[in-house]
Structure formats: structure tokens, C-alpha cells
């Protein structure tokens, strides 16, 4: 029983991070109709920036992390997120907006181009080697409730994930601009006719999505190693989560992320870690064969790649 709960805790933590990635994907898809393949590589920048701000140097040897910290941890993370938002806005303005009126496949390809550009540029500046990234709390600090070990890190990740989801939800439902964003997601043309500045909505949705992705990357970087393409697998898991939940809604993305995380950790504990990713991707094919638009279907089908 303790094993099961332990597994569930880890699964929900991972699921939360998948959900953060998936929300970013859904947000962009809803507001601009683009499936953003560059999401992972834009997010990947944030731990790199954060670690450079933390140590004040581009050569990221592991010793530097302990010996010289030039900036508090939280400030470095905030700096990383701010930088990622700027990158997201630049990608939106320079690459996506000029080709927005064309086939969405062009946008997907342009995002793949951005993905390549960012990964190789990061590889050039920080080299392609694996790095370690300091976690929020010490890796080995945890507390125990009835035989279940819960690390402070997992708690921090869950808290950050839940807080950011609530903030996003409040922004979307309680502010005027959030209303404009939801209108655009519902019907782009009608929203424009009602005087909503579509370009502004697009820019803000890119900023939000990049920030969420950057947060997910910072939370994941201590667990995975930091290297230029480390978010690629997470991004594809994010796609899987959106497919499970359906591309239609943010709730679907959260549900899909948590379900995927829990199923994965159950499978790797009780069956084998070997089949972990094969399982996730087979699940997508299975779900799509049963229901062609994901578990929670979209309401309208006008947007196609």
C-alpha cells in the first residue's frame, strides 16, 4: 500500500510538470491554431540562463555551483523566466506572425526551424555536455507520513505547478484581457469583429506559454540532466498529454498530464521501465483509434494543419 501511494505521489508530481507543458501547448493552439514544436526548446533556455545568472559564468562546471553564487536562487530563476518570455515574444513577432495567414503546416515547420536554431545556439554557447542543475531544496531532504516518503522537492514542484495553474485560471476568467483571450480561442474572426486586438492576444499567449514552459523546464532540470535537447522528450510527453485530454481545453491538458504521469510511474514500478515510453506513445495511437480527436473532443473542427 505504501508503495502504491509512493508511486502515485511521484506520478502526480511528474504529471504536474507534463501538465504545465501541455497547458502551454493548448494555450498556443487555442489562440493561434499552431502546434508549437519549438515550445520545448524555448523553455529549455530558462535553466541555462538561470544557471548562468546563478554562477555569473558561461562555463558551467559543477564546482562553480557550490563555490560561487553571485545571485540568489529565486532571482536567477525569475531572470531565466523573463528571458524565456522575451525569446517567446521574439519568435512570435519575427517568425510566426509573418506566416500566420498561410497553411498551419508552414508554422509547424517554422517552429521546427526555431527548435533547431535554439538547440544548436545553446549548444554553441554552453556546449552540448550534460550539466547538473541545483534543485529548489536539497535532493535528500524529505519527510515521512505513515511510511510514505515525500521529498520537499516534489512538494515544491506540486505547489509551484498548482499555484501557476490557479494564477493562469484567474487571469483567464477574472480579467478583461483573459476574456479577450478566451474569445479569440473560441472564434478568431468574431473576436476580431468585436474589436479585440488579435495580435496583442497572440503575443500575450506566447508570453504565457513560454513562461509556463520555462517554469516546467526549471522544475525538471534537476531531475533530468541539463543538455540542449533535454526538453524534447518532455515536449512530446506534453503532446501525449494534450491528446489524452483533447486539444480542446486547459482542463483537458491538466487531466491528460496527471493521468500520463501516474500511469507512467505505475507502469515503471509494477511492470518495467523499459516499456515506459513505448507505453505512452502506444496509448496515443490507441486513444486516437477509438476517438479521433482525443478523449475530450474539440467542439469545432474548422482548424486543420
Amino acid at each position: 500500500m505504501e508503495d502504491l501511494i509512493q508511486t502515485l505521489v511521484i506520478g502526480i508530481t511528474m504529471g504536474g510538470v507534463y501538465a504545465l507543458t501541455a497547458i502551454g501547448i493548448v494555450l498556443l493552439y487555442k489562440c493561434s491554431g499552431i502546434v508549437n514544436f519549438a515550445h520545448g526548446s524555448i523553455s529549455m533556455m530558462s535553466p541555462y540562463i538561470a544557471i548562468t545568472m546563478l554562477t555569473g559564468t558561461f562555463s558551467l562546471l559543477t564546482d562553480d555551483l557550490v563555490t560561487k553564487q553571485v545571485m540568489p536562487y529565486w532571482l536567477a530563476i525569475v531572470g531565466g523566466l523573463a528571458f524565456v518570455i522575451v525569446i517567446g515574444l521574439m519568435v512570435e513577432r519575427l517568425v510566426v506572425r509573418p506566416i500566420l495567414n498561410r497553411s498551419h503546416l508552414h508554422a509547424v515547420l517554422a517552429c521546427l526551424g526555431v527548435l533547431m536554431f535554439l538547440e544548436y545556439t545553446v549548444g554553441w554557447i554552453w556546449t552540448d555536455d550534460d550539466r547538473t542543475f541545483p534543485p529548489v531544496f536539497n535532493e535528500y531532504s524529505f519527510f515521512e507520513i505513515k511510511g510514505v516518503f515525500i521529498s520537499y522537492n516534489n512538494m515544491a514542484i506540486l505547489a509551484i505547478v498548482i499555484t501557476s495553474i490557479i494564477c493562469l485560471q484567474l487571469f483567464l476568467t477574472r480579467t478583461k484581457f483573459g476574456l479577450a483571450m478566451r474569445c479569440t480561442a473560441e472564434d478568431m474572426d468574431a473576436a476580431q469583429m468585436m474589436g479585440i486586438n488579435y495580435k496583442k492576444v497572440l503575443a500575450v499567449s506566447w508570453a504565457f506559454a513560454s513562461a509556463l514552459g520555462g517554469l516546467a523546464a526549471v522544475l525538471l532540470a534537476p531531475q533530468l540532466l541539463l543538455y540542449p535537447s533535454f526538453m524534447m522528450g518532455v515536449l512530446i510527453k506534453g503532446f501525449v498529454a494534450t491528446i489524452i485530454g483533447g486539444f480542446g481545453s486547459i482542463y483537458g491538458a491538466i487531466l491528460g498530464g496527471v493521468v500520463l504521469g501516474v500511469l507512467e510511474s505505475l507502469l515503471s514500478v509494477y511492470v518495467s521501465t523499459q516499456f515506459k515510453s513505448i507505453f505512452a506513445f502506444s496509448l496515443v495511437i490507441l486513444i486516437l483509434s477509438i476517438n479521433p480527436t482525443g478523449l475530450i473532443p474539440e467542439r469545432k473542427f474548422s482548424r486543420e494543419v
Binding site: F117, W124, I236, I278, V284, L288, V305
Partner: protein, 329 residues
């Protein structure tokens, strides 16, 4: 008449090309050219699916893996002759394409893209699990081509396997170009292009949508499988890591770089994307710079030349010489 003579000149240049190349520089470039030819086949297969039937596949790396592994297994363990095993590998991959076409029938747009992407990730992950046949993570050795060695017998080196592979790849590429450009003008091709528009309209015209969609997946996987088999026999060994996500994405980039909807565009795109990094490496010593420039040029082409390089002026001459297909609008 004019077009015919251009075609003839172009053909002769292609035939003597490896000899000129071997006389001038080292053989590494010939190997890259072979890779370009193989990627051209792969890109044409993807283009066939996208431009003719409106389906997008992000799982071509997996098709290539199936082709490469089956051809290698046929030659190594069953001892079949190379040409036979390559065609058989194409058939096996075509079957895999048919099977992946079944769930793809009802899918549209990004759902289809992500489903095929998942397929493209599953296959390289699943290959090492079947260790007794596929050799696990270590991979397999596959025999190289030696059919056209006699053409190079004047040279001091006894065998130039890359030279042989060049002619094999060239013949296959020509055959694939010929097949696709003729297919599109046939009854089947018209049925395919009806699928790109409105499926219901196609159905009302009496086109069996299910049958033609599966047929399209079969053809495209067949070509991709043959490209995979050629790849295996060119490289000489195969391992699961070679068929990663980028193997599926590169043909897509090539297609859009060159121009969607035309075989010439696919070949030009393959040339640019495969050879540009090598060219840059000779001038710039900064690591990763070739790929940074490549991705930048891709973004620029996508933003400023929506129909690819083929739509710009200087390459019209080259496109004249190649069998031209319907351009996508």
C-alpha cells in the same frame, strides 16, 4: 525538343559525375551525395503523401528503420540477393504503412501528425527489445553494394563501394521520380488529388476514400522502406539510434526548403539541407555553426519563399530538366 536535350545533358552529367568527383576531391563527398539521393527518395515519398493526398506523416524515420532492418535481416540471415531483398523490404514497410494507415484513416491535421510522430518514436524504441533478430542497441552489419565496381576498375583502389551505391541510388531515385510523376496523371492519381480537397465530395464522386488513403500510405511507406534499405547498405551497419526524430523531420524540412508538390523541389531541398552544413564547416570552425545557419536559412525560406527554393528564378533551369509535377497552391 529543347527540354529533351536538357534532359539528355543532365543525364550524362549525372552518369559521369562520380568520376569527376573522385578525380577532384576525396570520396567523402561522394558518400554525402549518396546520402542526398537517399534522402531525396525519402522526401519524395513524404511529398507524395502530403501534396497528392493531403496526409502528413512525421513517422518516416520509423518507415526507414523498418526498411533498413528488414533488408539487412533478409540479406544477412536469409541470404537473399540484394536487389530482391531491397524490394522485399519495401513491401514489408509498405505493409507497415498500410497498418499505420488504418488508425490514420479517421484522423486529421495535427492529430494525424502527432499520431505518426508517436509511431516514429515507438519503432526505434521497440527495435532493441527484439534483441535476437535486431541485435539490440549494437545493431547489425549490412552488406554494401558492389554491382558497378567494374566502372571504377581503372582506378588504383580495387573497389569503391560508394561509387557503386551512387549508381544504385540514382537508378532507384529515377524510378521513383518516374513512378510518382506518372501516377499523378493516372486514374489513381486523380483519385488521390480528390482526397486533398473535400473528402465528402470525393466520396460523392464514387471514390473509395478508405481504399485510396490506405493505398497512399502503402506507396509512401514502400518508397520510404526502399530508401531505408539503401541507407542500410550504403552505411554498412544499422543501429536503432540512427532512426531518431530528426530522421523523420529532415525530409519534411527538405520538402519545404525545396518546394512542396514538386519532385525537383524535394531533390533540391535534400541537396541544400545535406550539403550546406558540410560547406559551412569548411569555412567556419565554430562548432554547431553549420546547423545554426541551416535553421536560419530554413526560417528565412519559410517566411520569404512560401513555395520553396523552386519558386525562385535561378533554379527554373534545373526544374525544367526533371519531370515536373503539380505544384501545391
Amino acid at each position: 525538343m529543347k527540354k529533351k536535350s536538357i534532359f539528355l545533358v543532365f543525364g550524362i552529367v549525372l552518369l559521369v559525375f562520380p568520376h569527376i568527383l573522385l578525380g577532384l576531391v576525396q570520396t567523402k563527398l561522394l558518400f554525402m551525395i549518396n546520402l542526398v539521393l537517399i534522402y531525396s527518395i525519402l522526401t519524395i515519398s513524404m511529398n507524395f503523401l502530403l501534396a497528392y493526398t493531403g496526409q502528413l506523416s512525421l513517422g518516416h524515420g520509423a518507415f526507414m528503420a523498418v526498411g533498413a532492418y528488414s533488408s539487412t535481416i533478409f540479406t544477412q540471415t536469409l541470404g537473399l540477393p540484394l536487389p530482391f531483398s531491397i524490394i522485399l523490404a519495401g513491401m514489408v514497410t509498405g505493409l507497415a504503412g498500410y497498418l499505420i494507415g488504418l488508425p490514420a484513416l479517421r484522423l486529421k491535421g495535427h492529430y494525424l501528425a502527432i499520431m505518426t510522430l508517436c509511431f516514429g518514436i515507438i519503432i526505434p524504441e521497440a527495435i532493441p527489445l527484439w534483441k535476437s533478430v535486431t541485435g539490440g542497441f549494437i545493431g547489425l552489419e549490412s552488406p554494401k553494394f558492389h554491382y558497378f565496381d567494374f566502372i571504377f576498375s581503372y582506378r588504383s583502389e580495387s573497389t569503391i563501394p560508394d561509387g557503386s551505391a551512387y549508381y544504385v541510388c540514382l537508378i532507384v531515385l529515377a524510378a521513383v521520380c518516374f513512378f510518382t510523376s506518372n501516377l499523378i496523371n493516372s486514374r489513381t492519381g486523380r483519385a488521390f488529388s480528390a482526397l486533398t480537397g473535400n473528402e465528402s465530395a470525393a466520396k460523392s464522386l464514387g471514390i473509395n476514400v478508405v481504399r485510396y488513403k490506405l493505398l497512399a500510405f502503402f506507396y509512401c511507406a514502400f518508397f520510404a522502406g526502399i530508401a531505408g534499405a539503401l541507407y542500410a547498405h550504403l552505411i554498412g551497419y544499422i543501429e536503432p539510434d540512427q532512426f531518431n526524430f530528426w530522421m523523420s523531420v529532415f525530409p519534411l524540412l527538405m520538402m519545404f526548403m525545396g518546394g512542396v508538390g514538386s519532385n525537383a523541389g524535394c531533390i533540391i531541398g535534400a541537396f541544400v539541407i545535406m550539403l550546406l552544413p558540410d560547406l559551412v564547416t569548411t569555412f567556419v570552425a565554430i562548432p554547431n555553426m553549420p546547423y545554426i545557419l541551416l535553421s536560419l536559412s530554413l526560417i528565412l525560406v519559410l517566411v520569404f519563399l512560401p513555395n520553396g527554393i523552386v519558386s525562385s528564378r535561378p533554379v527554373v533551369f534545373i526544374s525544367l530538366a526533371l519531370p515536373e509535377n503539380r505544384r501545391s497552391e
